[in-house]
Symmetry: C2
Subunit: 356 residues, 2 copies
């Protein structure tokens, strides 16, 4: 039900994907009547690999997280994530309210051991013709160094899982300059944590990277807080669209340019393919005990289908198991904090001492 266009986009994309991918099965969750109407429009009323599950409520794009979590317990989002929890679905895809999706997923699925805050990890194209993995893209607008540190570990685990373990993926920390003295306190402290892990051989920390390094492909992974990540991602999408518009309008500006465009249509198609931000839609909610993918809210059918594709590939590649394994290796072994805490409770110490 989510996103700017709701089932008009999501159902259409699901039908299109199901038709070209015989291994896929869909559970469409939301207002039954609306979904059936969309299925009918897409000539898929009796599609053998489409099930509809009713959910009576919808989380809107401006519902606060509290409403999503506490009031709308029969929302399409909640019911969809529940399908994953209960093992009925292997992955959930949503174009809905990011904050709500993260909160609901976290509540229903729980986080992996050692993860305080899940993050959204997405792909961006780069000049080396392979993706730059970037996280967080918008789940956490305020981050402490420990969160960014965990994002680096999760990103490293994801890329190792997806791209194979030939060598540890390189990690860049997004900053305003390459030099160690640059940036705010959060970034400087994060760099210290990452450097320490690098020296231990746990992570392959490259150092600070700048905005342009995203598209240079300087590192496999770029770590940043969700505010910066979200703004940068949307700026890149906006510039991509601007580029496309300019390309089209200039080539149509006179007959000579149009002729050139027709002759070089192969080149234009290739450029459009490489630069179309829709092809990079679909971020993975990383750090949860289940797979959830977030599509851009403004996605059209074509773009939403890419998010489904990414989710489908993650399941096929057994990304969840692989990440869990990598995470277990990478996560710092927790000092046995819980055990003494329990012990101290048994000794009936006064509360004041426990917090000390």
């Amino acid at each position: 039900m989510g996103g700017d266009h709701g089932p008009a986009v999501t159902v259409a994309a699901a039908v299109s994907f199901a038709n070209r991918e015989p291994d896929s099965e869909f559970i469409l969750v939301g207002l039954e009547s609306v979904i059936h109407a969309e299925l009918k429009k897409n000539r898929a009323s009796n599609h053998p690999r489409m099930t509809v599950v009713n959910a009576t409520e919808v989380i809107t794009m401006d519902d606060p997280v509290e409403i999503a979590l506490r009031k709308k317990k029969d929302s399409s989002m909640r019911v969809a994530v529940n399908q994953v929890k209960e093992g009925l679905a292997q992955v959930c895809v949503s174009a809905g309210n990011t904050g709500a999706l993260m909160a609901v997923s976290r509540y229903v699925l729980k986080t992996m051991q050692g993860v305080d805050r899940p993050a959204i990890c997405g792909l961006l194209p780069n000049q080396k013709n392979r993706p730059t993995y970037m996280l967080d893209l918008g789940a956490n607008v305020d981050c402490e160094p420990l969160h960014l540190h965990q994002f680096a570990i999760m990103g490293s685990a994801l890329v190792s899982a997806v791209e194979g373990n030939k060598s540890k993926p390189t990690i860049g920390l997004l900053n305003v300059g390459e030099e160690d003295i640059k940036g705010n306190d959060v970034v400087k402290k994060t760099a210290q944590l990452l450097r320490a892990d690098h020296e231990k051989g746990l992570l392959n920390f490259y150092g600070n990277v700048e905005g342009n390094d995203i598209f240079k492909g300087t590192t496999d992974i770029i770590v940043c807080d969700g505010f910066v990540g979200n703004v940068t991602l949307k700026a890149a999408e906006g510039l991509g669209r601007f580029f496309k518009t300019t390309l089209t309008s200039e080539f149509k500006s006179n007959p000579l340019n149009l002729l050139g465009a027709i002759i070089a249509r192969g080149a234009l198609k290739a450029i459009s393919g490489k630069m179309n931000p829709s092809n990079y839609n679909g971020g993975c909610l990383l750090g949860l005990r289940g797979l959830v993918f977030k599509s851009h809210g403004g996605a059209d059918k074509y773009s939403y289908e890419w998010a489904i594709q990414r989710a489908f590939d993650a399941v096929k590649n057994d990304v969840l198991t692989r990440i869990s394994t990598s995470m277990a290796e990478l996560m710092p072994i927790e000092p046995a904090v819980e055990a003494p805490a329990v012990a101290s409770m048994q000794t009936n110490e006064p509360i004041a001492q426990k917090t000390a």
Copy 2:
């Protein structure tokens, strides 16, 4: 002396600009011998509108601000900003260390009344074929709501000064979503301040904008902290370069594409002109009692010349006076804090009471 390439770029760009702009005069500040050698290379040893002023020290790209301010008092940067302070130059252009340039400029020139922190304001292209003014682009990596509020006022003053006062320029606050509930505390509180000014008719606050709005041209001005601004700007530049590389390589990939490119070379030239990030080089240090422009550190000759162009235009348009006038109108009238403080000092109250 600054930037990744030093005088090889800055002197060459100055000579090229001086040759095409007879109204311009240059004072080249730095290591005399190096500058004279570059002038010779550029056949401008006895250029009638070029003076060389010696400065024995150079601030490097990774010098901390303290070194720039306290140790290197004869740095090219410091001496150049002094030229503005003393009225010998109308504007200073530098490709050097951003933090140092801001600190030195602030120390030497002082801030305008009501400005706590100067900001860097730059231009980005948008689909409406006019620039989006964006600030801060990297001077302040940590900002409080009051700083972002001042950036909005300064941006509004600048755009009114440059574009004419037909109507109040629109201001967008960069955020992760349009909705009021989105973003971190700093952004939410800033929005409250801007909304209050909008209601008073002082500013034309549009509301939250997202990364893609930069290139859509949703508002005339976009306000953000220097961390987000710097990363976004550099990401946009990186993506711009990626476009250019892809465009070139695809059109050269086979004879047919190349033929099309030759026929449509007018379109390609126009696209390249619109999308080339070099054409948008040159940010204005806003909020100072003098004009200072910051070029990208990695600028080449062509790109640095754009920064000089921008600085030259600012002087021609008498931007400093205009901003000062607008600022005086827009800045909240300061409550008379200083007067009572002086009075209390005269009564010899104990220090403990003064801080209470």
